[in-house]
Structure formats: C-alpha cells, structure tokens
Symmetry: C2
Subunit: 286 residues, 2 copies
C-alpha cells in the first residue's frame, strides 16, 4: 500500500511571486504538490506550525524561526537596487521629516516594515511613530508624515507619485549597505526535510526549473500578467526585471547583513554562527 | 486601468478529477484562473451562492439549482457501464436483502446516494432506512445490511471485496436504463456567463484541451497518480479508462433520464422543457 503524501507547498498569489510559479503551471510540477494559497503572513504561520511542509516565508519570520526551518537553496524574492514595490512615500523629502515622524503602515509584510524602521532609525536617526492604516495612499498619508507602501499600491505610486516623494527601500538598503535586499526566502521544516529529503529535492528542482523557464518565456509571462493586473506590459516587464528570484552568495551576504542589523529588534533572534542553515540539495548530499 | 479579474474556478482534488485538471497544469492555463480547491459539496454551495464563477457540481445539485446555472458543454464525470468507485456493498446478495434494509451512507456525494436510493426503491421495490457512518467498510457494514461507498474506499473494495457483494451503481444504472450515468457536470453562473462570455469560453476550451491532453498522455497521468495514490498503476489505468470526462448526446440522454427519475424526490426540481440549458460555447454564438 502506497502511503505517500504530496508535499504541502505554500503559494503567494501576489504579482511578485508569479514568475516563481510560472513554470510549475507549465511543466506539470503542480500535479506533484499539494499547493496551499494564502496571504504571506498566514503561510509563514502555517509553515512554522507544521501545517505546511515547504513554502515562501518573509525574511523576518524566517529569522525568528530559523531553529525549526532549513533554507531551500537558490530561490528567493530579492532586489539588487530598486524593487519598485516597497516604498516609503512622504509629502516632504525624507531629510525634512520631523524628528518623530508619524509613519503609516499599510501591509502585514514584516520584512518591508522592519526595513523601513531600520532605515529611519539607524540610518537617519529618527524616532518614528507607527500606525496601521488602509493600503491606499490617500488613507495612508491622511494625518501622517510618511507611509510604507508594499505591493500593487506601492508600484502604482512609483509610476504615479502625484507630487509625493518616493524612496525605494531596496534601493535605499543598497545605498546603505552595498548589498542586495532579500525580502522572502523558501524554507522547509527541519522535521519534514529529515523524513522526506527526496521530496524536498524534487520541489527544490521544480522551483529552480520554474524560475529558469520564466526567464526564458518572459514575454509570455508579461503578456499573461498584463491580462489580469492593473499595469501596462512595459511596467510589468520592468518590474519582473528588477525582481530577482535567486539566492546567490551576494544575496546571502545581504541576508546576513539584514539579520545582523535586525537583531537589535526585540523579536528577531541573532543568526546562529555560520548560518543560515540550508537543506542539503546539492549533488553528493542525496 | 485594467480591472479584469481571473475567473474563480472550482477544483476537486479527488482522484476521479485528476484527468480533467491534468492538462491545466501542463499548458499554463492555471495561470489564467483563480483556482479554488474544496470538497465537492462546498464547491457546489459556493457556485450557487456566487462565490465561484465556474466549477464542477454534482448532478443532483445542478438539477436543484438549474435556474441559476448554465451547463458548460463537453465536460463531465460519467461512466457508460461500471465506474468502479460508486458501489453498493452488502453482506448478502442484493436479492436477499430484507424489505427494509439498513443502508449506511459514507459520503456527502448526493448524486451517488440518490442513485443508490432510486435503484433500491424504484428498481428493487425496497424501502431502505439510511444512516450516515464513517467512510471505511468495516464501520459502514457494522449493524447495517448494506453500504453506499464512493471514492477511494469504494475502489479499494472493488479490488478487494473480502467476501462482500459489490454492486457497481453506474453499471446497475446502465442495466436499468441502457444509458450512461453522469455524476458531475461543470456549470457557470448565468450572471457571470452573461457578463463575461469570453472568459467562460476560454475556461471551457482550457478544460476541453486538458481532457484531450490527458488522453494523449495517459501513461504519464497513471504514473503520476501512482506516486501518490494507494493503487497500483494497472488499477489506476483501468479506473481512468472506465471514467468518462465527456458530455455527449448519449450522456445528455442519461442526464435527462436521471433528472426524470429523480424528480419524484422532494428536493429535486423537474428539468425545464428542452433542458438542460447550455452556455453557448459553439462557433457562431460568440
């Protein structure tokens, strides 16, 4: 009797993850996974709680729970310079903000929010007061000095700032550190990786192949996204070009740098010596 | 500004629907739908309530809500003779059952259950008493004369009846009526079909192409299913061969016959004259 169970894999149905899933829906790889679609914060929680086996996880959540997770090599959501969709938007230039600016948060993305906080506090010496608002620019800037926008609304404001000042937070991170910014990684539960290394390897290869295929078929990816997203093909092409889906040594340097600077914040544990710890997907480790 | 929204399409993650979704995960068609996976009864409810646009629906639920739905042409889950996975299982031959047999129901599949009831009452003149039990054979036959099994457990008992008598209900339907049995159809909300005929046509074509591709790649479908399902490749190949995924004129005759015989049961409305009513997917009706 065959008791095999498809690995439970998380899926974020956001525009920035489309390229990572593109090839899965073209190669048939989706037939060998039990795909669970949910917002990023819910996927992070499910992975940590053991209700998912493999999935995307915000960098901050990964750092908080690294003891229970292994990084899946090679794939990430990152940018080496502007990312276009993670922005600090303000009515005045950043240099003219008050010492304790009121900053609206419009997203549950913990990594983007912590990045904004680190830049404002550590780099600019400000002591922002944060408050949560609806995700549209008008609501976010109503009674606030600045707003952290993430996702579609951030991308919209990048193209149409309407007189506001827009700081691309991945670009600001690169100015500050010289390194790429890693927003999300893919992780597997240690327990699952130990019990089912072959299945994890299959999923890892399927994602790598999916990203490769997305790059090879980028015109089709753009045309498909343009059918459903509120952006013109040229804007989508630029966005997919800025986004990086790989986790190179340079990206790992950026990840470690972020972990190091984030460790001062109460709920982010310092990374273990020699970290992060990877699922051993390479040849010879099978 | 592009306000298009992907059609919300239902997906049953049961073995009998794998062939219908096979090609969607190989052609990239999944990228153009917003796929919602749920158990069949929940998908039926969501479609009728307007929380889904297009999806599979049990024949009985379709007949109950035909005023709000249009049939999607060409696709169905059906059998013209044995289906292997919808069985009446009893300790004694059917002819030796008491006049009021105790019959266990193990599934929420309303069509399979109504089929069993019609056969026992209308064809065999029995007055069964039904009770719901867990889906395994031992629980289902504990204190009962017979059990209606549907799905994996039914298929398992077909291969290993363990001394019990197994009546294949699709085969019994064909003996009784000479016609194929249609278990599920695909339907679209009338409102959605009127507002977005082009999108419905795309989804219809994607499903037709998916079934065609499944037939062309049936060895791969069987190998993929055998990785994850508790059945040997030969049993899966036989099952996918028995299952039919088309809705031909003969299947429609079977559907109408079922509707006619089911209309005596309180919650199933008679089919309208000239029904069922289809989404006009053909050429020239665009």
């Amino acid at each position: 009797m065959n008791n095999a169970r498809r690995p439970r894999v998380g899926h974020i149905a956001f525009l920035n993850c489309l390229p990572i899933y593109w090839g899965l829906a073209r190669s048939g790889a989706l037939l060998d996974v039990d795909l669970h679609r949910a917002p990023p914060d819910e996927l992070s929680r499910r992975l940590v709680d053991g209700d998912l086996d493999i999935g995307p996880i915000s960098l901050v959540e990964y750092l908080r729970h690294a003891d229970r997770l292994l990084l899946v090599p090679d794939i990430a959501v990152a940018a080496d310079g502007p990312v276009l969709s993670v922005n600090l938007v303000s009515k005045t230039p950043l240099a003219e903000l008050p010492a304790s600016p009121k900053v609206s948060l419009t997203s549950t993305s913990r990594t983007g929010v912590l990045l904004a906080r680190m830049l404002l506090e550590q780099r600019h010496g400000l002591t922002p007061e944060f408050a949560t608002t609806p995700p549209d620019l008008a609501s976010a800037l109503d009674g606030a000095d600045a707003a952290v926008l993430i996702g579609d609304e951030a991308l919209r404001v990048h193209h149409d700032p309407g007189g506001n000042h827009v700081v691309d937070l991945a670009d600001a991170w690169k100015d500050w550190t010289g390194l790429p910014m890693v927003f999300a990684v893919w992780a597997v539960r240690r327990e699952y990786a130990e019990a089912h290394p072959g299945l994890v390897k299959d999923v890892h290869l399927a994602f790598c192949e999916s990203v490769r295929r997305c790059r090879a078929e980028i015109d089709e990816v753009v045309a498909s996204a343009a059918r459903w997203e509120p952006f013109a093909p040229a804007a989508l092409a630029e966005y997919f070009d800025r986004l990086q889906f790989t986790l190179s040594d340079r990206h790992l340097d950026g990840l470690r740098e972020f972990a190091s600077r984030a460790a001062g914040y109460t709920d982010v544990a310092p990374m273990q010596e020699g970290g992060p710890e990877f699922f051993p997907a390479g040849e010879g480790t099978a």
